[in-house]
């Protein structure tokens, strides 16, 4: 499987999935009309990575505003991680937000409370 790179725009986040290191990064706003067009390749990549061997998977999210269509897609992604975690796989999410953007922190916390794998919500200066 190859790395997955999506260039971000105003309405879609930049995606960088590195197969060798097992690190998937998503950065920016996410409000495309059809979020699954964007997120399906990400879901496919994660499924392939988790199926390939037993190496850890880390998500590093610096997402800002998400429309509800993106939120629904992200739930599918985090559910994949939860299933892997329940099966004993090492998975973790770090969600970075700017300290003055409490709305993002609240959004990330709402995601976090539904999962049992390591999920950190971290304030980070620009």
């Amino acid at each position: 499987m190859r790395d997955l790179i999506v260039a971000g725009t105003d309405s879609i986040p930049a995606v960088k999935a590195d197969w060798a290191s097992g690190l998937l990064e998503m950065t920016g706003d996410s409000y495309p009309e059809n979020a699954f067009e964007l997120y399906q390749p990400v879901i496919d990549w994660i499924e392939a990575y988790l199926a390939a061997d037993q190496r850890p998977l880390n998500l590093r999210l610096t997402l800002l505003y998400l429309n509800t269509s993106s939120i629904r897609a992200l739930i599918d992604i985090l559910d994949l991680l939860e299933t892997a975690h329940q099966g004993g796989r090492a998975v973790a999410v770090v969600w970075l937000y700017e300290p003055d953007n409490e709305g993002v922190a609240a959004l990330a916390e709402e995601f976090r409370e539904d999962y049992t794998f390591p999920f950190e919500v971290v304030a980070q200066d620009r």
Binding site: E33, Y65, N67, T68, S69, I71, E102, G103, D114
Partner: protein, 180 residues
């Protein structure tokens, strides 16, 4: 040449404290462009960051909902248009309003859902939101699958308001007002 009555439009804008208004068919690109302008405009007015975020969010959900609806129903011409208004609200707040032509039965269904959401407190809205998030997703669905209205109700500082005005041929004009 027809002469547009700019001054009376201006009077309406001032009287209703309108910051931004659009009427016409929305494309995905236009939603982005206007959204970008809306953010910059609110920032230039020194609006607090959470308010900018919530106004933008209400704007995106409302306009994308209308886009999904008009596309799904195959509406054309004037029926495919949407009207969007962002205005000043009470106590330094903002109101995002959007309206479009719907089938009367759809408008009544929407009104019923909003009435039901307006009975819920913050905790019950959060529970409804989480329940909706966990609904199985239709693989062909492009939308947030019913999350949008609940999200709007959670972000709003007052109960959601709507108007449903019947038109001819089983149609109606539906508008929704979200106070941020």
């Amino acid at each position: 040449m027809k002469r547009i009555d700019v001054q009376s439009l201006r009077d309406v804008f001032i009287e209703q404290q309108i910051l931004l208004c659009f009427n016409g068919p929305f494309s995905a690109t236009l939603i982005e462009e206007i959204g970008h302008a809306l953010r910059l405009h609110l920032e230039s007015l020194q609006a607090p960051r959470p308010a900018v975020g919530d106004v933008f969010s209400a704007y995106i959900e409302l306009t994308q909902n209308i886009r999904h609806y008009t596309t799904r129903k195959g509406l054309t011409c004037a029926d495919a248009q949407a009207t969007l208004v962002v205005s000043h609200g009470t106590e330094g707040g903002y109101v995002v309003s959007a309206g479009n032509v719907v089938e009367l039965a759809d408008g009544e269904g929407l009104a019923g859902r909003i009435d039901a959401l307006n009975l819920l407190d913050a905790a019950a809205l959060k529970a409804a939101y989480k329940t909706q998030l966990r609904q199985p997703r239709d693989p062909d669905a492009k939308t947030g699958a019913g999350l949008g209205l609940i999200d709007l109700a959670r972000k709003a500082r007052e109960p959601l308001k709507y108007t449903l005005v019947p038109l001819d041929a089983g149609r109606a004009f539906f508008s929704l007002h979200v106070a941020i």
